[in-house]
């Protein structure tokens, strides 16, 4: 496997747009709709029955709509969970359209199969696929179908801007503009080449004529569809690259933003739930004598895997649930304890020896290179399970009646949620209407369907709409966790300290496939293997997914190699990245921002780490004060190259956010298992970083390649933990080989 290809699976925009299929039509009120199909047919034709059946606002398959009041609506096929995606994608569309930003509205796409996130489907299904250019459209079409089948309307993988934005929003905006200009050219009887668009107006400079987009919306739909709309070059960008204010922030500052938990229906009741503490166990018996007598209680349900109490109010349901004693079945999972789990990892890795496990990537001959190395370095690292701990606890509202079902929640993949509800009830997906709201944090947790399924099951059993809310305790104990893992390394250095062999074996590989690999480092021989060690606990994607642990493993070990070579961590990484200008620029910028060569006070240390992920290259430098009882992270310098930052302020916000999320994990994130059950339950034993522990953050952005965009929501996280632990090593000489830091003794 040629590793260079793995890191270069960025969208091939030119090839794709050549094959883009654009559709257009008019809806009620004379609104122009423009859509971009990702397979060869016209989406608007297929959708016209759907578009025609209602009045006013419609569920429409299109990315842009221009109505009679000259309002441009960008329809966003992703969900807003704090990453600012509604605004960034609207910027991309409005810029190509030359729309007046003050008259741009944003609408979340309905949970409809026509809006599937083609790109994320492709990335998840075959991330390493290298497709000859000529086959690209076919492959794209095939993957769309697969994605549809798998019900992916996902927001995740930091993919919205680089996939949907580049391939659909910009194309639709540019196409709509060309069609409006063509219509205006006919109307005014002037050559299209003399017309231009600006601020949602069509202008003819020669005659000083101008008119709003809306005047041409209907006629524009009759124009031929441009095969290859011309996209702007960066020098012409008006909105892209600018720090536009996010449209959702005012509503999130006055309490009017609606989250899943805010769903409200006439006659709605509330359910509190408690699942068997060991996943896989069932409720054998429950004592409901007290609960039955408590005020507001309507129903008590033993659902097998969980207990639900339905009441007039949530607090009443929760209070009653608290009085129920239950007995649970015994399972194999009961035997699992955290120490034993790490012991099991160790024995599995021992058994694998030099050749066991599944080879993920191999180049050269590591055995030979290691045997002949002048210096040999070995290390083992461990990380615990981690919970997502979104601020909005898991919740879902469902109403089952007349063979149909409505579901309200905040989900990262609305189509998957819809299908999950349909499958739960054994009805057609067309009989389920899924209503998505703002997500009070996603981080991967809200891509799971367990909550949707539970609420639908409760709703099926009761004759009214029911809102199920998890307590914080349930949310912590019934998560789909970032796996705990052990990773072992061996590396050989030549007499100059240069790395000549790199071997790694680790437990688990979830996603993305390239997370454990280091194709950007010049190491001639490498071999990377994994072994899956299943447990009864459920794993799920956790912000930056496998990069969250491998970033720590890899960058800690690189620091150990630097130390073994007698070199500084920054200088050593420069050698490993030699010849890769874009990577070096990021590393150099982080070092420069931090004043890498300036001395630190006694007891303070500086650490650097470098991880490209989700198409964005990131280097971070941490400054840590080790003079107190506990490590104090003072400042983080972030240098990042996302190709092109569509909204630089939003991008910086995502870097700040990733640092807080990553620092929580680094300092104290730990879910542990005892007798098969998760031991942590609320923020006292699963603490989250608070404002008094938040370091200063300085973000430097490099726009390194405007054609190849990277993600924002996740890539800031992987370098954080190793930057901090490498800084601790610089300050104290103590190497941290297990997270979180709360387990370490620095006294």
């Amino acid at each position: 496997m040629a590793d260079k290809q793995i890191s270069e699976t960025a969208p091939k925009k030119g090839k794709w747009t050549r094959r883009a299929f654009i559709g257009a039509g008019v809806v009620a009120g004379g609104a122009l709709l423009v859509g971009v199909a990702v397979r060869p047919d016209n989406p608007v034709e297929r959708l016209s029955p759907m578009v025609a059946k209602g009045k006013g606002e419609q569920l429409i398959n299109a990315w842009v709509k221009i109505d009679a009041d000259n309002i441009v609506t960008a329809i966003i096929p992703h969900v807003e969970m704090g990453q600012g995606i509604f605004t960034s994608l609207a910027q991309m569309l409005a810029d190509e359209l030359d729309a007046d930003w003050s008259k741009v509205r944003i609408l979340e796409a309905p949970a409809d199969a026509k809006y599937v996130s083609h790109d994320i489907g492709r990335e998840f299904l075959a991330p390493n696929l290298e497709v000859p250019a000529i086959l690209e459209p076919t492959v794209g079409g095939t993957f769309l179908q697969l994605a549809t089948a798998m019900n992916l309307q996902i927001t995740g993988g930091s993919f919205s801007v680089r996939g949907t934005g580049q391939r659909a929003m910009r194309v639709a905006g540019a196409a709509a503009k060309e069609m409006l200009i063509a219509a205006a050219a006919e109307e005014w009887d002037v050559p299209a080449g003399e017309l231009r668009a600006e601020n949602s107006m069509i202008l003819h400079d020669k005659s000083s004529k101008s008119a709003p987009f809306a005047d041409f919306a209907a006629a524009a739909a009759d124009q031929g569809l441009p095969n290859k709309p011309k996209l702007k070059s960066p020098k012409d960008y008006k909105l892209m690259g600018k720090a536009m204010a996010r449209h959702d922030i005012p509503d999130k500052s006055n309490g009017t933003a609606l989250f899943g938990i805010d769903a409200d229906l006439p006659g709605m009741k509330y359910a509190a739930v408690r699942a068997a503490p060991v996943v896989g166990a069932t409720v054998e018996s429950m004592n409901v004598d007290s609960a039955k007598a408590m005020p507001g209680v309507l129903q008590i349900l033993n659902m097998g895997d969980f207990i639900a109490v339905v009441a007039d109010g949530y607090w009443q349901a929760e209070q009653a649930l608290g009085t129920i004693d239950a007995k649970y079945s015994k399972t194999e999972g009961d035997k699992l304890n955290q120490d034993a789990l790490f012991a099991r990892y160790a024995s599995v890795l021992d058994e694998a020896g030099d050749d066991g496990g599944d080879v993920e990537t191999e180049q050269g001959d590591v055995t030979d290179a290691f045997a002949n190395a002048a210096t040999k370095v070995e290390a083992e690292y461990k990380v615990p399970f981690l919970a997502h701990a979104t601020m909005e606890p898991m919740n879902c509202t469902a109403w089952v009646r007349d063979g149909k079902c409505d579901v309200w929640s905040g989900h990262q993949a609305p189509l998957m949620a819809r299908k999950a509800a349909a499958d739960t009830l054994g009805i057609d997906t067309d009989d389920v209407t899924y209503h998505n709201a703002y997500l009070g944090g996603g981080f991967g947790r809200r891509s799971e369907n367990d909550v949707i399924i539970m609420a639908t099951r409760i709703a099926k059993a009761v004759p009214y709409p029911v809102k199920m809310i998890w307590s914080r305790e349930e949310d912590t104990m019934q998560d789909h966790y970032r796996p705990s893992a052990t990773s072992r390394f061996q590396a050989g250095l030549d007499k100059d300290g240069k790395a000549v062999s790199w071997s790694n074996i680790h437990t688990h590989l979830f996603d993305p496939q390239e997370a454990p690999t280091v194709p950007y480092y010049n190491i001639a021989n490498h071999k990377i293997r994994k072994i899956d060690v299943p447990t009864h606990l459920r794993f799920g994607p956790w912000r930056s997914v496998d990069h969250s642990q491998h970033g720590y493993f890899i960058e800690s070990f690189v620091d150990e190699l630097a130390h073994a070579a007698g070199k500084d961590g920054y200088a050593y990484r420069r050698e490993l990245l030699a010849g890769s200008a874009r990577h070096l620029a990021v590393l150099d910028k982080a070092a420069e921002m931090s004043g890498w060569d300036t001395p630190m006070p006694e007891g303070h240390g500086r650490g650097i780490a470098f991880v490209p992920s989700f198409g964005t290259i990131v280097a971070e430098v941490a400054e840590v004060d080790m003079t107190g009882a506990k490590p104090k992270v003072k400042k983080i310098y972030v240098a990042a190259d996302p190709g092109f930052a569509v909204n630089p302020d939003g991008f910086a916000a995502q870097m700040e956010s990733s640092i807080a999320y990553g620092l929580t994990a680094t300092l104290y994130g730990e879910i542990s298992v005892k007798d098969g059950a998760v031991q942590q339950s609320n923020f006292h034993d699963y603490p989250i970083l608070r404002i008094n522990e938040m370091p200063e953050v300085e973000v430097g952005i490099i726009n390194g390649d405007h054609k190849r965009l990277g993600g924002a929501g996740e890539p800031g996280l992987p370098p954080l933990a190793p930057a901090v632990t490498n800084a601790i090593f610089a300050a104290t000489g103590k190497r941290v080989r297990e997270l979180p830091l709360s387990k370490a003794n620095f006294a």
Binding site: K292, V297, Q299, L301
Partner: protein, 160 residues
């Protein structure tokens, strides 16, 4: 066979499908206490559980758990920094507003209270009534058993 339990009237018995290969499992027990809108049966008012009258260790353990409500604002380790609320180490027996370095409300500073267990119990049952103007945010603890447990824990943790 799935069971349907009858509780206080009126009861709605929901038909349950037999076990089978349904898309998702239905309830194995469904206890319908009442229909929406119907009055709760007030005669069956559940008596509040008795405060734990067990051994002191049990009380302290219960208090440690109940103290979780407090830890967002208070630490109790000796020498630990004040947070939103003052460090509570050794608070029992001290005069109100006497923890070094903590900025108390005027109300607390002038309350004249000495934190005996009884005063603490009275305060925790309704802080705003006991000290009108206090800035303590985490409201009243209405359950006497929880207050007793928390105070036992504070005393125990202060001894270490």
């Amino acid at each position: 066979m799935k069971a349907v339990f009858r509780a206080s009237a009126p009861v709605l018995v929901v038909a349950l499908a037999a076990c089978g290969s349904d898309p998702a499992p239905e309830p194995t027990e469904q206890i319908v206490v009442r229909e929406p809108g119907a009055d709760s049966d007030s005669s069956a008012d559940g008596a509040a559980p008795e405060p734990a009258g067990e051994a002191t260790d049990g009380l302290i353990a219960a208090g440690k758990s109940a103290f979780n409500t407090c830890i967002a604002c208070h630490v109790i380790d000796k020498g630990g920094a004040n947070r939103i609320g003052p460090n509570l180490h050794g608070i029992i027996g001290q005069a109100a507003a006497s923890v070094d370095g903590f900025k108390y409300s005027d109300a607390m500073a002038s309350s004249g209270i000495t934190w005996t267990k009884e005063e603490l119990d009275s305060y925790l049952s309704n802080p705003a009534a006991k000290v009108p103007g206090t800035t303590m945010m985490a409201g009243a603890i209405t359950d006497a058993g929880r207050r007793e447990a928390i105070i036992a824990y504070i005393e125990d943790a202060s001894a270490n």
